[in-house]
């Protein structure tokens, strides 16, 4: 077990090094994310100017929400995929992974976390720095206090783990379907919507909010971002962390069990 953890850490480190090489991709990503960020904020600005009554979340909070969304896109977007793993499975290179003395759930998990972490590290700082310097009303605001900030970081990290455990299920499904597109598109559309990537969850009609609250997707994006802006108070944030941990446990267990049963009857593709 101890040696396994070392291996996971090692693959994590290697994937991180690899990921940090892709500077051009990060630059292109940053440009796109600014475009989306401005667009979203302008839409909300227009919406708030003309809206009647008070909204469930303030424009200031929405703006922080949008910038965080853009800065940590690689952290939270389900549609970001590691083609390496898909190729491993569909081309049969997976054969090598089977010859290693360690379980691959943890191995892939570490790889995927590292991939997202390296992508986000390259992107988040430039976006956040610029977002803090922008003129009003686009400027991003600091969290109300230090405790809130700590809670934000904790929930963001656990949220990442929850998200990766969801995406692990997608990778595992490729063993059966042999094509990533089907399961990927279905889950990522549902996931994107219910994680508040399209409309922040507080702005959804209440019946939709209910559904969203029962699903794990919001735990990776919507929840940490609202904690940041103080929209979710500290005591509820603590409850949120417990929910995150519970989901993480359940998702990892499902993933491990299904991977085990699949690998028993696996066929490695190709000669």
């Amino acid at each position: 077990m101890k040696s396994n953890i070392k291996a996971y850490f090692s693959v994590f480190r290697l994937r991180l090094i690899t990921g940090l090489q892709y500077r051009a991709a990060a630059l292109a990503g940053i440009a796109t994310q600014f475009f989306w960020g401005f667009m979203h904020i302008m839409v909300y600005e227009a919406f708030y100017e003309n809206a009647m009554g008070t909204q469930p979340i303030s424009l200031k909070q929405i703006i922080s929400y949008v910038w965080l969304q853009q800065a940590f896109l690689v952290f939270i977007a389900l549609w970001i995929r590691d083609y390496e793993i898909f190729n491993l499975i569909t081309s049969g290179n997976i054969a090598y992974e089977f010859c290693r003395p360690c379980g691959f759930y943890g191995f892939w998990f570490a790889k995927l976390v590292a991939q997202r972490l390296s992508g986000a590290t390259l992107r988040c700082f430039p976006i956040l720095i610029v977002a803090f310097l922008l003129p009003e009303p686009y400027r991003m605001t600091l969290p109300p206090d230090f405790l809130t900030f700590c809670l934000f970081v904790i929930t963001l990290v656990i949220g990442l783990l929850v998200l990766v455990s969801i995406s692990m299920l997608i990778y595992i499904s490729v063993f059966i379907t042999m094509s990533p597109s089907g399961s990927m598109t279905t889950i990522s559309i549902i996931g994107e919507f219910f994680s508040g990537m399209i409309i922040p969850i507080p702005l959804m009609p209440s019946w939709l909010q209910k559904i969203a609250n029962y699903l794990p997707f919001r735990l990776a994006a919507d929840m940490p971002f609202r904690i940041y802006s103080g929209h979710i108070p500290a005591d509820e944030a603590l409850k949120g962390i417990l929910i995150q941990l519970a989901w993480l446990l359940v998702l990892v267990l499902i993933g491990k069990i299904s991977l085990k049963s699949i690998t028993k009857k696996i066929i490695v593709q190709g000669g």
């Binding site: 040696s3 070392k6 291996a7 850490f9 090692s10 693959v11 290697l14 090094i17 690899t18 090489q21 081309s91 049969g92 290179n93 054969a95 090598y96 089977f98 010859c99 290693r100 003395p101 360690c102 028993k264 009857k265 696996i266 066929i267 490695v268 190709g270 000669g271």
Partner: protein, 332 residues
């Protein structure tokens, strides 16, 4: 007790059957027909420690399937397989620490980072103690001449360089058994020879058992004293290469360069049974001698008596032709 013992292995694959064309594709959405392929059909053999065994057979004969079962990747439908006292697919983690595997058509190295990073990852995966790792690495780097390529990203290596690194990667943890699935595929002559020499050396010096599948019969000739021939999922021959050579290599080719004239040549060898003229020109004749009916020495005696011979060369059948014959003989 032999190091590797395989007994009565069966493996069947279900393959979706579909003819070409859109109509068939649409039809198969609703109704799929399957065909059962017997990849392995009662395969048995045993291998002692320190042997080099060449595992040969045409494409699709079941070579890779056997290798995959022995390395714990595939579970057979029936049969026993015991390697160093373990059943590969039952005790996978303990088993794979004893084996090294190279799949010639796949890569275990990380594409975008220097080779040494992949090696260090393997060190952590196999939990190789640092001292042992450095010793193994040193030895592999010097014998495979990796000094200059170990810090280069894999994507910039040539196929030959990469294959040498793949071999090193599979041996870092000091396995007792090495499975090589087409290790020389696509390599140039120099790299092929380097790979062969290396395999020979580690077998001799570290007593590593090597099982090697290949389509290049020169690999087999250079390395393996024993061959296993598989066809249509059955083991057809298990024994040494020389025996096959004696059984099937019944023809020799004699090339003679001479001064003189053609008609004389034709008449002088036409009388011997088992000798056929392959080609004949003004100063050269090629003869095919069936050694079952004619003796090479007799043919040469007659030739030298009748011709002003400059030189003679006698060639055995190339091993590739031998194998073609062998496959034909066994109808595979």
């Amino acid at each position: 007790m032999p190091e590797i013992e395989v007994e009565g292995l069966y493996k069947r694959f279900k393959v979706a059957k579909r003819s070409a064309g859109l109509g068939q594709a649409v039809k198969s959405l609703f109704h799929r027909e399957y065909r059962i392929i017997e990849a392995l059909n009662n395969v048995s053999f045993s291998i002692e420690s320190g042997e080099i065994v060449g595992y040969i057979g045409p494409n699709g004969a079941g070579k890779s399937t056997t290798i995959k079962i022995m390395s714990g990747i595939l579970v057979p439908d029936e049969g026993k397989c015991c390697i160093m006292g373990r059943i590969p697919w039952k005790e996978r983690v303990a088993h794979v620490k004893n084996i090294g595997v190279v799949f010639g058509q796949r890569s275990q190295l990380w594409w975008d980072v220097p080779v040494i990073d992949s090696f260090e990852l393997l060190r952590d995966i196999y939990a190789i103690p640092q001292k042992e790792y450095l010793e193994n690495l040193d030895l592999l780097v010097s014998t495979l001449e990796l000094q200059n390529i170990i810090n280069i990203p894999v994507r910039q290596l040539s196929l030959g360089q990469r294959m040498r690194c793949e071999l090193a990667a599979s041996l870092l943890h000091g396995p007792k058994i090495l499975f090589l699935d087409e290790p020389t595929i696509g390599l140039d002559a120099v790299s092929k020879i380097a790979v062969r020499q290396f395999i020979k050396r580690i077998n001799r010096e570290k007593n590593i058992t090597v099982i090697l599948t290949t389509h290049d019969m020169n690999d087999i000739e250079a390395l393996a004293s024993r061959i296993l021939l598989i066809g249509k999922g059955r083991i057809l021959y298990d024994g040494d290469l020389d025996y096959i050579r004696n059984c099937f290599s019944t023809h020799k080719t004699i090339t003679v360069n001479f001064r003189g004239n053609k008609p004389q040549v034709d008449t002088c060898v036409a009388g011997i049974s088992g000798v056929n003229v392959i080609s004949c020109s003004e100063e050269r004749i090629l003869l095919d001698v069936d050694t079952r009916t004619a003796r090479v020495t007799d043919v040469i005696t007659i030739l030298s008596a009748n011709l002003d011979v400059i030189d003679i060369s006698i060639d055995s059948q190339p091993i590739d032709e031998l194998i073609v014959k062998l496959y034909r003989e066994y109808d595979i």
